[in-house]
């Protein structure tokens, strides 16, 4: 029989464990307070107050994470099931930042579309708790819980516009495909648990050596998890859900989902594959190299033929997942740091682009065709200029953060010997210039004669967000040295002990 292990858990240990997950606790508390406030306040006040609570919670999470990162606190907690190391803190800061931006954008969006405000913010907070737990996970159990928490919150957010069929269809598709992917990941985890006898990632890292490559359980587990992860980062050939879901979901949800889920899923891949299963590199690299190549080709080619901005950005997201996978494949200090750097930059440029599109929506619906952007630079110069910045950054033009991100990723890829993949990546990013410039063409085209489909409503919130994102996207270019240092710092916990 299984003998009961003695647990000694002291007050000091309890406090230090709680401090390790400080940012997660902050967001969770904000979530609970928001739910209660939503029930108690009069109807008119609920939305704004919940939004403020969400922002306060996220900013305090950001502050806690920054404080702990600067002071170099961090280490395992809760019997190594969670870790508050620099890698986790990096992602926690990232998610808190995206969260603030998302909350502001959705607050304005739901008002213009006449939806209920408070619950969307609560769902966003729940998704952020899931993402943070994913980044901080020290065990397969925590990885799975974080993954499901973020997925389930996003399923509901996707269907948030309950009276519109596209929104519901997007939710149903995301739910069924997401559930399928989760089951795959979970089965992979179960097999790896069976092969190693532990779910704690640091133990897996020591027990799985390069001799384990012949173990069929382990290999099957890696294969299943790889497929599931590819679904989650929307890498080809498992990307089919992405455009449909992105197009149907309410715009702020799409914006949030496109960047945050991707960052969280890459945090998970780095934790599980680069750290936990680092010695099985040759096995999972074959799988990921194939998906990376497929994502870059499929994403970029399909993005060209799209008529909807949301779908175009969805396919561009598939392509970017391919670029980031190059960094994952390269591994090592340079590779992981490049991935963190790129994710940080990508989050702001892509979120900014979606936030610009979200200002085009009114009570009638979302304006997501290229034509809706016509003359944007003259209708609202700030938005027009910033949209151009985001597009140039996504295309990877020099002063922008996207350029530096690609440089770091591709140099890491070449020095790790993935030359063919890098060549493919460069070629496909040349193709991508075409569809990003098509957006620029519409933004800077003269004002249309016919009245525009979507006039601007009260969009001060999103404009602030777009400005913020734009400032980040531009400023991170010159600051890339600093950010790379932060990334290297964040990469360190994954590489120690090897």
């Amino acid at each position: 029989m299984i003998a009961a292990a003695q647990v000694t858990y002291t007050a000091a240990q309890a406090w230090s464990d709680l401090a390790q997950i400080g940012p997660i606790v902050a967001v969770t508390v904000a979530l609970l307070v928001a739910v209660v406030v939503d029930l108690l306040l009069p109807r008119g006040l609920r939305g704004p107050v919940v939004t403020v609570i969400a922002i306060v919670g996220l900013v305090s999470a950001l502050a806690i994470a920054a404080y702990r990162l600067v002071n170099g606190y961090g280490g395992p907690a809760y019997f190594r099931f969670v870790s508050g190391d620099a890698f986790a803190l990096f992602f926690e800061m990232l998610f808190a930042l995206i969260g603030v931006l998302a909350v502001i954008v959705s607050s304005s969006y739901v008002r213009r579309r006449g939806l209920y405000e408070a619950e969307l913010q609560v769902l966003t907070l729940a998704a952020i708790v899931g993402m943070m737990s994913l980044a901080a996970a020290g065990s397969l159990v925590t990885v799975f819980l974080g993954l499901e928490l973020l997925s389930i919150a996003l399923y509901v957010s996707c269907g948030y516009n309950r009276i519109e069929l596209p929104s519901q269809e997007s939710a149903a598709k995301y739910l069924i495909i997401g559930g399928f992917a989760s089951a795959f990941v979970l089965y992979g985890m179960a097999l790896i648990y069976g092969a190693t006898g532990t779910t704690v990632l640091s133990d897996i890292a020591t027990r799985v050596t390069s001799d384990s490559a012949g173990n069929p359980l382990l290999l099957l587990g890696v294969l299943l998890m790889g497929v599931g992860f590819a679904f989650k980062v929307s890498a080809a050939p498992f990307h089919m859900w992405t455009p449909d879901v992105y197009q149907g979901a309410p715009l702020p949800v799409t914006a949030f989902m496109s960047v945050a889920t991707k960052a969280a899923a890459f945090a998970m891949i780095l934790r599980v594959f680069n750290y936990g299963l680092g010695h099985l590199g040759p096995e999972w690299q074959v799988l990921l190299a194939f998906t990376a190549a497929a994502s870059m080709v499929v994403g970029n080619l399909m993005a060209i033929v799209q008529a909807s901005l949301k779908r175009m950005l969805a396919y561009s997201g598939v392509a970017h997942a391919g670029y980031i996978l190059v960094g994952v494949l390269a591994g090592g200090r340079a590779g992981v740091a490049a991935v963190l750097f790129y994710l940080f930059g990508y989050v702001f440029m892509n979120f900014g682009a979606f936030a610009v599109v979200s200002t085009l929506s009114g009570p009638a619906g979302d304006g997501d065709l290229y034509e809706d952007l016509n003359g944007l630079a003259y209708r609202n110069p700030t938005l027009g200029v910033l949209m151009s910045v985001f597009m140039l950054s996504l295309a990877g033009f020099p002063p922008m953060v996207g350029f530096f991100g690609k440089v770091f990723l591709f140099t890491a890829g070449i020095s790790a010997g993935w030359t063919w993949l890098v060549v493919l990546a460069v070629l496909t990013s040349v193709v991508s210039v075409y569809y990003y410039f098509r957006v620029l063409f519409h933004v800077w085209s003269p004002l249309p004669e016919a009245p525009v489909r979507f006039a601007f409503g009260p969009v001060r919130g999103p404009v602030t967000v777009v400005l913020l994102a734009g400032v980040f996207a531009v400023a991170l270019g010159p600051l890339s040295g600093f950010l790379l240092q932060v990334g290297l710092n964040g990469a360190a916990p994954l590489l120690s002990g090897r």
Binding site: V7, L32, V35, L39
Partner: protein
């Protein structure tokens, strides 16, 4: 490595064979008499008044969903109860935090009208 699983494979084959054999035998050998009271759902039981496959009100789904959620959460109380003595006060506090979160969820459902039948 794979040969370790050979007994399992043999076991699976035997199980399939036995089950298949039993099903086919009962299908082939059993006498079949089809008349009205034999075909009723409950032979020599209650006489059904209307078909079982009728549309259910969506309210049943709602109640069932809410029940499932809270029912399954209770599973965490069992392992907690087993080691409560070792966890001492931290365990008690932790579980109260957990219950508080569940209570918030319950309050949310209540106020939003999820518990109302009509």
């Amino acid at each position: 490595m794979l040969s370790d699983y050979a007994p399992l494979a043999i076991y699976a084959v035997i199980v399939l064979a036995v089950v298949g054999l039993m099903l086919t035998l009962s299908f082939v050998l059993a006498p079949v008499k089809r008349y009205r009271s034999k075909l009723l759902p409950y032979e020599s039981g209650i006489v059904p008044t209307d078909p079982a496959r009728k549309r259910m009100s969506v309210r049943f789904y709602l109640t069932a969903m809410l029940f499932i959620i809270f029912d399954v959460e209770a599973v965490f109380f069992y392992p907690w109860a087993v080691i409560l003595h070792q966890l001492r006060w931290y365990g008690v506090i932790e579980m109260f935090v957990f219950m508080l979160i569940l209570l918030v969820a319950l309050a949310h459902i209540w106020r939003k009208g999820g518990l109302e039948w009509e």
